[in-house]
């Protein structure tokens, strides 16, 4: 399959309201060529409406959508033909699986024999080899979802729009499909918009992340940037993270900044200048906890703080332990056996150890 060059999409000043209520108001959002942008947000935050506008299915009240630097709209047939979408509920047409997958190809007047080959190939790709002749209305949710994805993928679109494609599935099927989606999207190298309210899905599938709240994009960047350091307290809460720590750079030596965070000094590797006000965050995966009275030997980890456990939440098969020292709140992800070993509970004093490279820094 000769895939066409992936597209670059820029959304600028796009606004949309329904009955006087603004549902989307996005100054700028960029979808980089060949990458998957995970668009996260609570329900009602305007993600699906934004997807519809990028997909030229709905007209914005104001603003532009540009593909490869050129403004496009719904009358632009060529651009519309370069896109394909799959939605949360996989609505299929009556008829066979093959009819469904071939729908877009027929619209494009692809010859019958070519259509047959491409349908066969794409069904194999989504794990439904030889399912062409089954009735589309007898499929399970997961199977229907695969057909919906195949129906979009078979068009070899330059732009793929996926709106909560896994939301209606049970957890087992959801993760199986999430893995498959991630693999397929990586292999296809398409520009993809992946809308979801589930951050684990975004972590598994997306390269870049944007977060929407009340119609606005409140954070965007690589997954690492967005998840590493929440830009504000609402985002932190939405992502289930601790709010970023505010601090002021005291000095920088050999690339390591010493930051004062309300009396607690943290070390971070970051290109910042002395005196700068910064936001700090530490990934829970990078924090090691010690008993409070342990004599921690000299280590390479630059940060060692005395703190108190204030919260313990189970998170999947592990635990998320939140510790506090003055204005500094940090979460540590630890295993169940570590929790038992250290006899942690709320109020337990501990020592936390983490590397200067584990501290993310953003200037304010």
């Amino acid at each position: 399959m000769s895939a066409p060059k992936p597209a670059d999409i820029v959304v600028e000043g796009v606004r949309k309201s329904y009955r006087g209520k603004t549902v989307v108001d996005v100054d700028r959002l960029e979808l980089k060529a060949g990458r998957t942008l995970g668009l996260l947000g609570p329900s009602g935050s305007g993600k699906s409406t934004l997807l519809s506008m990028i997909g030229l299915l709905e007209r914005p009240d104001a603003g532009t959508v540009s593909v490869d630097g050129r403004e496009v709209n719904a009358t632009d047939r060529q651009t519309r033909m370069s896109m394909a979408a799959a939605f949360q509920r996989p609505y299929l047409f009556k008829g066979t699986v093959g009819d469904n997958v071939a729908y877009g190809l027929r619209l494009r007047r692809v010859p019958a024999s070519d259509t047959r080959d491409r349908v066969e190939a794409v069904l194999t790709r989504v794990g439904l080899q030889g399912w062409q002749d089954r009735s589309a209305l007898t499929l399970s949710g997961g199977e229907a979802q695969r057909v919906a994805l195949a129906r979009a993928l078979v068009l070899e679109p330059r732009i793929l729009l996926l709106d909560e494609p896994l939301a209606s599935l049970d957890p087992v099927m959801k993760w199986r499909l999430a893995r498959d989606f991630a693999r397929i999207l990586r292999e296809e190298g398409k520009t993809t918009l992946y809308v979801t309210h589930d951050q684990d899905e975004v972590l598994a599938i997306a390269d870049d992340v944007a977060i929407m709240r009340q119609g606005r994009v409140v954070a965007s960047g690589t997954g690492d940037q967005v998840f590493g350091l929440p830009a504000d307290d609402w985002i932190a809460g939405f992502l289930g993270m601790e709010p970023s720590i505010r601090g002021r750079v005291l000095d920088v030596k050999d690339g390591v900044a010493r930051v004062d965070c309300g009396g607690v000094t943290l070390y971070a590797v970051a290109p910042v200048a002395p005196g700068a006000e910064v936001l700090l965050g530490v990934r829970p995966e990078d924090v090691v906890l010690f008993e409070a009275d342990a004599i921690v030997p000299l280590t390479s980890a630059r940060n060692k703080i005395q703190a108190v456990v204030v919260q313990i939440d189970p998170s999947g098969s592990t635990y998320r332990v939140v510790i506090e020292r003055g204005p500094v709140r940090i979460a540590a992800k630890i295993s169940r056996s570590a929790l038992v070993d250290l006899r942690l509970s709320e109020g337990t004093p501990v020592q936390a150890l983490f590397k200067a490279t584990a501290v993310r820094v953003a200037s304010t």
Binding site: K253, D254, G255, A294, V296, T318, T357
Partner: protein
């Protein structure tokens, strides 16, 4: 001493590669080489050089498994 990290191995420094901010320290842990990226500051503080005995600590959440 109890700590939350599940993997603690004793080893010997076999190589230190200095960068501008960080250093990559290679540690021989029972025949397996473990790399550790630490700050130059930390290298100085620990006073390590090739041949020093060190502990390597890895959180289980950082260990990625793969199969052939």
């Amino acid at each position: 001493m109890k700590l939350s990290a599940r993997n603690v191995w004793k080893g010997k420094v076999v190589e230190i590669e200095l960068g501008s901010v960080n250093a990559v320290v290679k540690v021989d842990v029972g025949g397996i080489i473990v790399s550790s990226m630490i700050t130059l500051d930390a290298v100085k503080d620990l006073g390590i050089s090739v041949g020093s005995a060190v502990y390597t600590v890895v959180k289980s959440s950082s260990v990625i498994l793969g199969v052939d």
